[in-house]
Symmetry: D2
Subunit: 341 residues, 4 copies
Amino acid sequence: MIRFDSDYMEGAHPEVLQALIDTNLCQTVGYGADPYTERACELIRRECDAPQARVQLLVGGTQTNATVIDGLLARHQGVLAAECGHINVHEAGAIEASGHKVLALPHKHGKVAAEDVERYITEFYADETYPHMVAPGMLYISHPTEYGTIYSLAELEALSQVCHSHDIPLYIDGARMGYGLAAEGADVTLRDVARLADVFYIGGTKVGALMGEAVVVTNPKLLSNLFPLVKLHGALLAKGRLLGVQFEALLRDGLYYRLGVHAVELALRIREAFRAKGYEVVVDSPTNQQFFRLPNEVFDRLSQRVSMELWGPRGESHSTVRVVTSWATTPEAVDELIGLL
Amino acid sequence: MIRFDSDYMEGAHPEVLQALIDTNLCQTVGYGADPYTERACELIRRECDAPQARVQLLVGGTQTNATVIDGLLARHQGVLAAECGHINVHEAGAIEASGHKVLALPHKHGKVAAEDVERYITEFYADETYPHMVAPGMLYISHPTEYGTIYSLAELEALSQVCHSHDIPLYIDGARMGYGLAAEGADVTLRDVARLADVFYIGGTKVGALMGEAVVVTNPKLLSNLFPLVKLHGALLAKGRLLGVQFEALLRDGLYYRLGVHAVELALRIREAFRAKGYEVVVDSPTNQQFFRLPNEVFDRLSQRVSMELWGPRGESHSTVRVVTSWATTPEAVDELIGLL
Amino acid sequence: MIRFDSDYMEGAHPEVLQALIDTNLCQTVGYGADPYTERACELIRRECDAPQARVQLLVGGTQTNATVIDGLLARHQGVLAAECGHINVHEAGAIEASGHKVLALPHKHGKVAAEDVERYITEFYADETYPHMVAPGMLYISHPTEYGTIYSLAELEALSQVCHSHDIPLYIDGARMGYGLAAEGADVTLRDVARLADVFYIGGTKVGALMGEAVVVTNPKLLSNLFPLVKLHGALLAKGRLLGVQFEALLRDGLYYRLGVHAVELALRIREAFRAKGYEVVVDSPTNQQFFRLPNEVFDRLSQRVSMELWGPRGESHSTVRVVTSWATTPEAVDELIGLL
Amino acid sequence: MIRFDSDYMEGAHPEVLQALIDTNLCQTVGYGADPYTERACELIRRECDAPQARVQLLVGGTQTNATVIDGLLARHQGVLAAECGHINVHEAGAIEASGHKVLALPHKHGKVAAEDVERYITEFYADETYPHMVAPGMLYISHPTEYGTIYSLAELEALSQVCHSHDIPLYIDGARMGYGLAAEGADVTLRDVARLADVFYIGGTKVGALMGEAVVVTNPKLLSNLFPLVKLHGALLAKGRLLGVQFEALLRDGLYYRLGVHAVELALRIREAFRAKGYEVVVDSPTNQQFFRLPNEVFDRLSQRVSMELWGPRGESHSTVRVVTSWATTPEAVDELIGLL
C-alpha cells in the first residue's frame, strides 16, 4: 500500500531526528528557556526579517490557534474566518470553548476575499443592533488553505490593508507554510507573511518535524501575555527544547524550504498525471494537496494499492479524492501511483 | 555543573529514543488510531489489570489535568485539591479557564487526608446556602505529591472510599507515578491505583519519554466523550503514534519501573549523605525529590558546582533547596554531589 | 408619535402591576423560595398538564437561553439553531461565551424543518472526521420565531420526533409564547409544547410582565443542577418573588392568553389594512409581528407619525418594516396607523 | 413573626414604586436607551462628582460582579479578594465560569488590608515561577463588607494607592453602599468612592429598589466594551428603563441616603439593646448588619417570634446570629424585638 492520506504520517525528517538524537542527553531547563529554543527563535526572526518579533514554539495546530485567537480577541469579539476554515470545522469547537464565536465568511476554495471582509465589517456596523451582535475582532486565514490554494501577494496585501483599516489584526495559520512558500507560482515569501500579518505560525508538524508550530508575533503591541496564555491553554511543553532543536534543524540551512519544494514537485507531477489521464482536477491547487474527481470504479481499483482520502461523501458515479504529498513522499511512490492510473 | 533542578532536563531514555528512531519512517494514520498506540494502550490495561479501561495518550500534564477535570465535572461543580496542588498553583489557571473553581483543602506535605475531604463535603451540604456555592464534584490528588511524598495503600483506600461514598470520582495525577511506585516503603502498586481511582494518568514526560501522559479511565461510566474533549482542549497530537511508540517502549518489558527504581535509589543516597552531614531533611520524601535546609554559605558554595532549585524564598541564614533525580541521573553525578558536601 | 417598534416598550399590564403593588411590603425570603413563586410554578405545571415539570423563573431571555443551553449540552456539544435564531445573531455571543458553538441550520422565515435537522445529524455522523467536529447536542427553536411565524402541531411533532430519535433534547424559546398560542390558525397549545419539548420557556417580558421568563423542564432527566446554574450565570433574582407575583397574576385566570389574543387581533387588523392598500406582506405571519415592504416615500411619510423598525437596510426604492403590537397596544393607535396609510 | 433575615425581603420603597406606577404605560425604546435611564446616569455622575464616568444599570449583584470582573481582567489574570468575599463564596463560581481564578486574601471581618495586597503582589513577582501562576489583575472589595464593616477613608486611600502603584484597577462591590455611606463613624462619601475606585457599583436591590445595581466606571480607560459584555453575560434588561426610573427616584432628592440613615439608626438601636442585655457583639459593625452571640436558649426563645439568620453552624451552648435592618424596617418591629430580649 502506498499512502497519500496526509502530510503527518511519518515521524521527522532524518536531519531533524538526528538533531534530537545528538542533543538527547544534554541537560537544559524546561519550558523553552533553553539555548536551542533561543537559537531557533533567532533564526526565525532572521528568516522573517522581523527583529522585533516575539516567537513562541508550541506543539500542535489546534492549541496554537486556540491560544493565539484567545489572546488576540477581547471578550466580546469573534474571529472572522472562511466557513470551511479549520477553526470553524475541524477543531471540535476549541475557539468557542475559549468563549469566542467564529464568524463565517464565504470563500473560494478556502480563500477569503478582502472585499468580503470589508463588506462584513461595514454591514456589521451599519446594523443598528450591532452592540447585540458578536463584533469582528480579527481575521483568521490559512496559507495554504484547507484546499491547497494560496494567496497571491496582492491578495494578502489587500487582506492586511482591510484588517488594519478597521484596526483588527490579521492572523495566518501556516500549518503548511512550507508547502505554500514552495507553491507553483507563489509570489509570497516568509518575509511578506511577516510584514503583512500581525501574528502567524510556521508549521513544523506537517513539514519535517515530529511536532511543533512556531508562532511569530510581528506586531509588538499584541499578545504581551502570550507565555501565561500558552500555559493556561495546556500548550506549554515541559521539554520545550525539543521544539527548539527541531526548528533549528529545519531553519539553519534552509531544510524547511527544501522540504516544501520536494513535496510540491511531487504533487505537481501527480496532478499532471491525473490530468493527462483525463481526470478532473477539482481544485487548482499549486501545493502538496491535490483534489481529483474520479469515476468510482477507478477510485475502487486504485484503493487496492493506494491510500487516499475521500473528500466528502462517495458520489453515485464519481467521487472526489484528496492526494497529499509531504517531505517524506518518495519519487518511487509517486511513480508507482502514476503507473497505476 | 551537575544538575538536579528537575526531572525533565533531558530528552528520552535511549531505549525509548531508539523506538522512535526505528519507527520514524513507518507510515500510520494520525491522532492515535495507529497500531503502536493500540499496543501501548493494551499494555497499560494489562499492567493495570483493568481490561475495561479506556486509555488516551496526551502530551503534557497541564493539558491532561485540564481535559480530564473539565470532562469529569458538571458545569456547576469544582474540584477538591490540596491547596499546594499543581492545578491550584502552577497551571496558570487552566482549570478556571475551563470554567471550574479549585476548592482548596489543607494538606500535609502535599497529601490530602480522607477526613478533610469528608469534612469539606459534610460541611458544604450542612450549609443552607450551599446551592449558592461551588459544589465539590471530584477529588484531585497527585501521587507522588509536589513534595515527593506518597500515599500509603490505606490512605488511598480511605480517599477512594470517601469519594465513592459521596458519589464523586477520584482522579490521580501521576506525573511522577514511576517514582511513586518505586518509592521507599511504597505499598501501592499500579493495580491498586487502577482499582482505587476512577481516572488517573501515568506520567511519561518525567519518567523516560520525550513527552507523554497516559490517561487511564477505569470507571467505564466516565468520560465517554474523552476524544472530542481532548481535541477541544488542543491536546490531540497529530502524530499520535509518537506517544504510542514511547509508552510501548516503556512498558513492554518493565523499563518504566526500572527507571523509577534507578532515580529513587540515587535520591535516597543523596538524602542519606545530606543527613549524615547534619543537614535538615525538610520533607520525609521517599521518592526522587528531596528537600534540604542548608546554611546559606553551604548553598552558595554548592551552587558553584551544582544546580538545584531554591524552594521558596532565600532565608536570612538558611534556605531550603529541592534536589531532584531522574531516570537520567548518573551515579557519577550523585557521587560528585556527595563529595562536595 | 404612535409606536409599533417592539413588544417591550411599556411596563407591566395593570393587573400585573397591581399584584406587585398589593404585595410590595410583604416580607418573604429571597431567591424564589417564596409562596408567590411556589404558586406561580404550580399554576404553570397545571396549565402545561405537566405535574412532573420543574419550573424556574428567570429575568430575561438571553440569560435564560444561555443558562438552559449551558445546562443541556455536554462540554463538547453544540446547539442546532436556525441561522437567524436569536442565540445565533442577537445575544452577543452568550452561547459561545459559555463554551458552546451554535450550529446553524437553514430556515424558512425563521422556521427549522425536521428534515434539515435529520440531514444535519445524519451527515455529521457519516463524516469520518466527526470526532474532530462539534457534535449536535440539542435543538433550539423559537415559537413564534423571530419572523412572527409559528410551527404547526405536525411540524412540532416532527421536530420532537427527530430530536428524540437521535437522543437530543428539544428546547423551545417562548419569549413570545403568548402571541404564538393566540396566533391565527394556531393548532399548538401550551400542553402540546410541554408534551413535545424537553425544556421551554414561557415569556413574560413581552407578554404583560415587567420582566420574567418561566423555564419549564418537562423531561425530568434533564437540568437537575438548574438552580446553581442559574446562580452561576448571574441570573438569580434576589427578590425572586417579583417574578412569582407576576406569573401568578398572568396565569391565575387566563390573563396571559387574553393578552395574546388582544395583540394578535390588532396585528391582523394592521396586516389587512396594509394588504388592502396594496402593500406587500413580506412574511405570512399570524402573530403580533408583521412585516411589510413599502415604497420609501410611504415609509418616510408614515415615519413622521409612526415609529416602526426598519427590517434590514433601507432599499433604493422600497424598504421592509416590522410593525409590532403587544398587550399594551390600543385599538385607537391601530386605527390611527390605519388612517395614515 | 418579625423578620430581620436580610435586606431584600420586601419590594421597593413606596416612592420608588410610585415612580414605576407613574411611568408604567409610557413608551420607550429598550435596553437602557431611554430618557429615564439617561437622567439616572446623569444624577449618578453628579452625585459622584464624576462627569467623565460611564454608568451602566444592571439587575443584580452576581451578574454585575461577573460582568465587570470579566471585563477588567486579561485572560490570564485573576481577581484578588478577601477569602470571605461574595465572589469567592456565594456566587456559585460565576467568576470561574467566566474563566478567572479568585485569588484569596486574608481579611479581618471582611476587610482587606493594603499591606496584604502589597505583600501578595510583591511575593507573586518574586517567585521565579510566576508566569506559571495566575497573575493578580485587579482587586475586589466590598463596602460595606459581608460582615457589615466599612473601610475608613485612609484605608480606602491606601488600597487605591497600592492598586495603582501596581497598575491594577480597584473595584468596589457596593451592594449595600447606601448603608455604608450612612454608617456610624463613616468618613467615606460617594465622591470618595468615585475618586478612589476605578469601577464600583451603587446597590439598589438592597436599598430601596425592586432590583438594580448602578455600575460606575470612573476610569475612562477601562471597560470600553461594557455594553456588549453586559449583553453577553445575559445581564441586559429589555425594559431597561425600569432601572432608570428607580435610580432616578432614589437619587433625585436624596432618598437613597435617607434610606441608609434609617436602616443604620435602627440597627444601632438593636446593637445597643443586645449589648445592654449583656450579649456579645461579635463584629463591630457600624451598618445595617449586626452579629450577636447568644445562648442557645435565648436564640430559641427569640426564634418563636423573630426571624434571624444563624451565622455559621449552631454551637453547643451559644450560636451567632445575624440581624439585618433595611429601608423597610419599622421602628415598631425594632421595639418589638428589643422588648423580647
